[in-house]
């Protein structure tokens, strides 16, 4: 006996599923940067995301082919502008490796201090922004105040706050003033208290943990396949850190622990960054204790402006001064790759020089550009607010993303 369908059935034809398309676009306050995602959403759940980047592509690699070597430093610190000194020193070390210059111990220790300070400011902004995205706005204001202290330290050394252009190829422009050391000690005294307070605010906070645990996770295999590096890879469980894998600037003299997460979600990234800030503080203290005496600059006359009195009464210094200012210093032929542990991961500089005054080709391995590819896969099936949280926890800096 065939069951007669109720009359209304012919009105209800099963229609194919319709999705809303949301534009998490370039001028969105939550993206903390300039990248665009067209999110195909089913209600609140994200079905698919198609990213578009390149909104502040400034052609760093083409620009670097036109500038003499020490003029490329101002470009590099506009790449990851949250931790600019790390990029500068990464670039200086690449050129020093090409020249085969031996850097005095004191310069290496000074560089370690600045790089760890920059790493703290980078992680500090990222963790504060994770706090903002989960609703804890006050954390951001207090943590950003600490960043001002580090800005003042940069100002004492190189005069600029954010895009620091710090140091020279071979060392530093001048010896650090006592005021700098005073400010560093003041930062070392004040920052741990604020960091402890920020940690107590969020670490075991019920709401924060429910929001961040299990959100935007990635497994270690997928992370390695996407060539993750830095905090996002360590949060996924792989303990790869360039400072330990390929120690540069005498990092092997310091003991520090590499924090490693378990399941690579936002909470693990937050905790890895918190722990790394404590480790950086201890590295700075060790560097200050074991600070060796010595020159603040290596013997690289054709990259270091000779002091004024020498320029006036000795011909050679005058020639060096003239060649540096006019940008006529040539670099020997060579092809070198040097990588540094930046705020977001392995920041590499691949320099090919054909003996001229400007590099023949400079490729910058930008960690943000490489690991942001995994973003659509990480947010598939999660809610929109989790997608924004994942993006800010990955600490994608637009300047480094589209160099």
């Amino acid at each position: 006996m065939e069951v007669k369908q109720p009359a209304t059935d012919q009105f209800y034809q099963p229609r194919e599923k319709q999705y809303t398309y949301l534009n998490l676009g370039p001028t969105h306050p939550a993206t903390h940067g300039i990248f665009q995602n067209v999110l195909k959403m089913d209600g609140e759940i994200i079905v698919e995301a198609t990213p578009t980047i390149g909104y502040i592509h400034r052609a760093f690699e083409k620009l670097a082919e036109r500038r003499p070597f020490y003029q490329i430093t101002p470009i590099t610190d506009r790449m990851n502008y949250c931790s600019a000194p790390i990029n500068n020193f990464g670039w200086h070390m690449t050129v020093e490796k090409l020249l085969g210059v031996e850097i005095p111990k004191r310069v290496q220790y000074l560089r370690v201090i600045i790089m760890e300070l920059a790493r703290i400011t980078d992680h500090l902004v990222c963790n504060a922004v994770i706090g903002v995205d989960t609703g804890a706005l006050t954390g951001f204001v207090y943590m950003f105040q600490q960043r001002e202290l580090v800005y003042e330290i940069y100002e004492e050394i190189c005069g600029a706050r954010l895009t620091s252009n710090i140091g020279r190829i071979g060392g530093f422009e001048r010896e650090w003033s006592p005021k700098t050391w005073e400010k560093i000690h003041r930062f070392l005294k004040e920052f741990p208290l604020v960091l402890k307070e920020f940690e107590d605010l969020l670490n075991r906070n019920r709401i924060f943990m429910d929001r961040t645990i299990g959100c935007g996770g990635i497994t270690a295999e997928r992370a390695l396949n996407y060539s993750f590096s830095g905090v996002n890879l360590r949060a996924a469980g792989v303990d790869y850190d360039v400072r330990v894998a390929k120690p540069y600037s005498s990092y092997e003299d310091f003991e520090f622990v590499i924090p490693v997460g378990k399941n690579g979600d936002v909470y693990d990234r937050f905790m890895v960054r918190q722990e790394e800030m404590w480790q950086s503080l201890s590295i700075i203290r060790q560097a200050i204790e074991k600070m060796p005496e010595g020159p603040f600059h290596a013997k690289v006359p054709d990259f270091y402006l000779p002091p004024k009195e020498e320029v006036y009464n000795n011909m050679e210094a005058l020639i060096y001064h003239f060649k540096i200012v006019m940008g006529e210093t040539d670099i020997p032929k060579g092809e070198v790759y040097h990588c540094v542990e930046g705020g977001n991961g392995e920041l590499g500089f691949y320099l090919i020089s054909d003996g001229g005054r400007t590099p023949f080709r400079l490729h910058m391995r930008r960690p943000c550009f490489i690991y942001y590819q995994a973003y659509p896969e990480m947010i598939k099936g999660s809610m929109l607010s989790d997608a924004i949280l994942t993006m800010s926890s990955m600490n994608v800096i637009a300047g480094e993303l589209d160099a």
Binding site: T20, G25, P26, Q36
Partner: protein, 124 residues
């Protein structure tokens, strides 16, 4: 002591109402008159972070959003009835208390019905 018109206890309420409506009206009027207007075609389009919007917004969405909204309105109105009761709690005495318990329990039955039907489940 002449007779106090019972109505004039409403004067303060009336005044407050006039001030509220007046404030809203004047600001709307003044901004409308003073502010320069330039209604262009682009200004009327939807703003989607600077990119021309894709897809249309009028598509059927999941029923759970609508259910949650209606249930909220329902229980919110219930709370409104509790305010006057809560204010003069002693005068109403036990009879008032029993009436309110009855009122709340009828709505509680409705709440359990909803719980059973699963209207409040969010992750499907």
């Amino acid at each position: 002591m002449e007779e106090i018109n019972p109505l004039n206890q409403y004067i303060p309420i009336g005044l407050m109402f006039i001030v509220a409506v007046g404030f809203v009206a004047t600001t709307m009027l003044v901004t409308h008159l003073l502010g320069p207007k330039r209604n262009t075609q682009i200004k009327l389009q939807a703003f989607e972070s600077g990119i021309p919007s894709i897809g249309n917004a009028r598509i059927p969405f999941n029923i759970k959003y609508f259910l949650i909204a209606i249930l909220f309105v329902l229980f919110d109105v219930e709370v409104i009835f509790m305010y006057p009761w809560a204010v003069n709690f002693e005068e109403l005495g036990t009879t008032g208390f029993i009436e309110m318990v009855l009122f709340i329990s009828t709505l509680l039955i409705g709440y359990f019905y909803i719980k059973k039907k699963g209207a409040l489940t969010w992750e499907d």
